[in-house]
């Protein structure tokens, strides 16, 4: 390879430093802040998955809110059942239900619930991916279809009041595996669990994009037709990446709902779905590391501003979208790139498509 560079300027290095900081931070923060940061870490998992799909493979899904939502809802249903102590959840009784619907009964098993929280989004993504990619429906057309998926599913969730709590969502989430969700200890454990999951997801994704599979992903992004004439069934590859990405969104939703203790349709609708793409864009598409920062910074900013100056925040977020998309196609990583460029000379611009090897 080229001249050896210090570990701390590689993606692995920067990410490791970040993880160490994030592991220390709970000591310095209030329980509330730790919990908040834990949720953002869950978002970062989704952002990494979305980057695999959008940044590396060039397929933009604006349907990740619903995949996240599947994970969140399924997990929340399990928690609701556990919290109701075997009885019917309140909102079901209000809707006139007399016994637990079979789907819910299935989800009262923790193993089934936690696996379905990941498998259901993957399944839906496989279906949608299969039926669109094989027909060469791509680019914006695919993106619009993913938005329609969100709209359809959210409408369905809202209308099925007796199963999903309708537009109020599922709110009575109290205990998981016997531990109270409101206790700081449980939340601290969940924080570290999320941090560990993020670490595993990040390094696995980094490995993936550096493998031949990752090169296929980039090739699909930059020249899908060429790749097909090289003998690849690109539709299959895209479906797999979409499915994987949806699974990570489900995982993210699962960890998120455990930490926030509520899930409502507004959290998973069209607008949050687009905001997820913003995290990736702000951080830098096709960099893996950028979207992690993007998710953490955008959500920190959002929480801070939306509490203090809600109006200003909406304007800021709107402007951020426009500026990042027009002027900073690689987001925050543009800055990182400029720093490393001096160090690495002419090879610096490889960092997006093909991360530096150690």
């Amino acid at each position: 390879m080229h001249e050896r560079q210090s570990f701390f300027t590689t993606k692995q290095g920067v990410f490791t430093i970040l993880i160490v900081i994030l592991a220390i931070l709970p000591l310095l923060m209030s329980d509330f802040q730790t919990n908040l940061l834990g949720r953002f870490l869950a978002f970062a998992i989704l952002a990494v998955g979305l980057d695999l799909l959008w940044g590396y493979t060039g397929v933009l899904s604006l349907g990740h809110g619903i995949f996240f939502g599947f994970g969140a809802y399924i997990t929340a249903i399990y928690i609701t059942i556990e919290s109701s102590g075997g009885g019917l959840p309140d909102f079901m009784m209000w809707s006139g239900m007399t016994e637990l619907p079979w789907l819910w009964q299935l989800l009262s098993n923790p193993v089934a619930a936690l696996s379905l929280a990941i498998l259901v989004p993957m399944f839906v993504a496989t279906l949608l991916g299969f039926f669109t990619f094989r027909n060469r429906i791509k680019g914006v057309y695919f993106t619009i279809l993913t938005q329609a998926l969100v709209l359809t599913m959210v409408t369905l969730i809202i209308s099925q009041q007796q199963y999903t709590g309708g537009s109020d969502g599922l709110t009575n989430l109290q205990t998981i595996f016997g531990f109270s969700l409101s206790s700081p200890q449980t939340q601290l454990v969940l924080y570290f669990l999320t941090l560990i999951v993020l670490t595993v997801v990040f390094f696995s994704s980094l490995r993936l994009v550096n493998s031949r599979f990752g090169k296929v992903m980039v090739a699909i992004r930059d020249g899908e037709n060429r790749l097909r004439f090289s003998g690849y069934n690109t539709a299959h590859f895209k479906t797999v990446v979409f499915t994987l990405s949806a699974g990570l969104a489900g995982l993210s939703g699962m960890l998120f709902v455990m930490q926030i203790g509520i899930v409502t349709p507004t959290m998973i609708d069209i607008i949050p779905s687009i905001e997820m793409a913003l995290w990736v864009a702000i951080g830098g598409r096709g960099t893996l590391l950028g979207p992690v920062f993007g998710a953490l910074l955008a959500n920190t900013g959002s929480t801070y501003f939306s509490e203090s100056f809600p109006e200003v925040w909406t304007y800021l977020m709107g402007l951020a979208f426009i500026i990042v998309i027009i002027y900073l196609p690689k987001g925050l990583m543009t800055i990182g790139d400029k720093l490393t460029k001096k160090r690495r000379g002419s090879h610096a611009n490889q960092s997006a498509g093909k991360p530096t090897k150690l």
């Binding site: 429906i137 680019g139 359809t152 209308s159 977020m317 196609p329």
Partner: protein, 300 residues
């Protein structure tokens, strides 16, 4: 029989509303290949324009004149939305031609700003716009009693579509627009100012969004997020119809409206939506490029 006819009319009516919302997109997305997520906000701007015109009439003119506000609201909403569209093109979209996904995200940001602007000016809660009296009642056709406003919308949409066909296919400036969209370099070397054509075209598309906004005030109350509810449906209409084909947009809007009404009648509102979504995916299996699409030699 009567029930069926009524459903058919409802389908047609829904289709006409979808069509009106999608008409502007048929221009900006269909011709210019720009994904303008702020289209919904341009609709919202049109709706508030109608609201303001109505307020002015209520405040300054005698009661007998009130119903005339609608006649003024239509051009006012067209012009105001066209102006905002022109601004949007100038500030954001100009930089993003040829990058449709990026135009989607950037215009979403612009949409957020416009929404917030509306909230700042008019407040977050929905406001109602009083329909003009001549559109308030029902009209008897054969045995059906049909809301006058719905019938009016149907006719207005037909007029808009007719105008668009005429403008794009029969007039000089319409031809110029199509020339630029089909072969920018060629058109430019023939002396057409492509920048001006771009901004004009986009403004026209935005203007139609404004008209749609005025029409939506006849259906229900309006608010800053009015457009969000319709934007995705509108894009679906254009995609299913075949991008760049006005006739496709018409067929697809009416088809989706019709099926949506039928499915909702047979099941319920939300299942109806699910079924329409599945139907759209199925239609795209059969016609991946939309209902109307010319087989061409070009590689994408």
């Amino acid at each position: 029989m009567e029930a069926i006819l009524l459903q058919l009319f409802n389908g047609l009516s829904l289709g006409s509303i979808l069509l009106l919302i999608a008409l502007g997109l048929a221009i900006t997305f269909g011709l210019m290949n720009v994904i303008n997520m702020a289209h919904g906000e341009l609709i919202m701007i049109g709706a508030y324009a109608a609201y303001v015109v109505q307020l002015l009439f209520l405040t300054y003119l005698p009661e007998g004149m009130f119903s005339w506000y609608f006649i003024f609201a239509l051009p006012a909403s067209f012009l105001l939305a066209a102006f905002f569209g022109w601004l949007l093109e100038l500030s954001v979209i100009r930089h993003l031609y040829g990058r449709p996904l990026d135009s989607l995200l950037a215009t979403f940001g612009a949409g957020l700003i416009l929404q917030q602007l509306a909230r700042t000016i008019f407040g977050a809660p929905n406001v109602g716009v009083q329909s003009p009296t001549f559109l308030a009642g029902t009209i008897e056709i054969f045995t059906l009693s049909i809301p006058a406003s719905r019938l009016f919308i149907l006719l207005l949409v037909a007029a808009c579509v007719g105008f668009m066909f005429y403008y794009f296919y029969k007039t000089k400036s319409g031809m110029r627009i199509r020339a630029v969209m089909q072969n920018r370099k060629m058109a430019s070397s023939l002396g057409i100012n492509t920048r001006r054509v771009d901004s004009t075209t986009f403004a026209i598309g935005a203007g139609f969004a404004g008209v749609a906004g005025t029409v939506l005030t006849l259906i229900g109350p309006i608010g800053p997020t009015l457009g969000t509810a319709y934007i995705v449906d509108a894009f679906m209409v254009v995609v299913v119809g075949g991008v760049g084909m006005l006739i496709g947009t018409v067929a697809s809007a009416l088809g989706i409206g019709m099926f949506n009404t039928i499915f909702e009648y047979v099941t319920n509102a939300s299942m109806g939506r699910v079924l329409v979504f599945i139907l759209i995916i199925l239609v795209l299996q059969w016609r991946p490029n939309g209902l109307f699409h010319l087989r061409t030699r070009s590689l994408d």
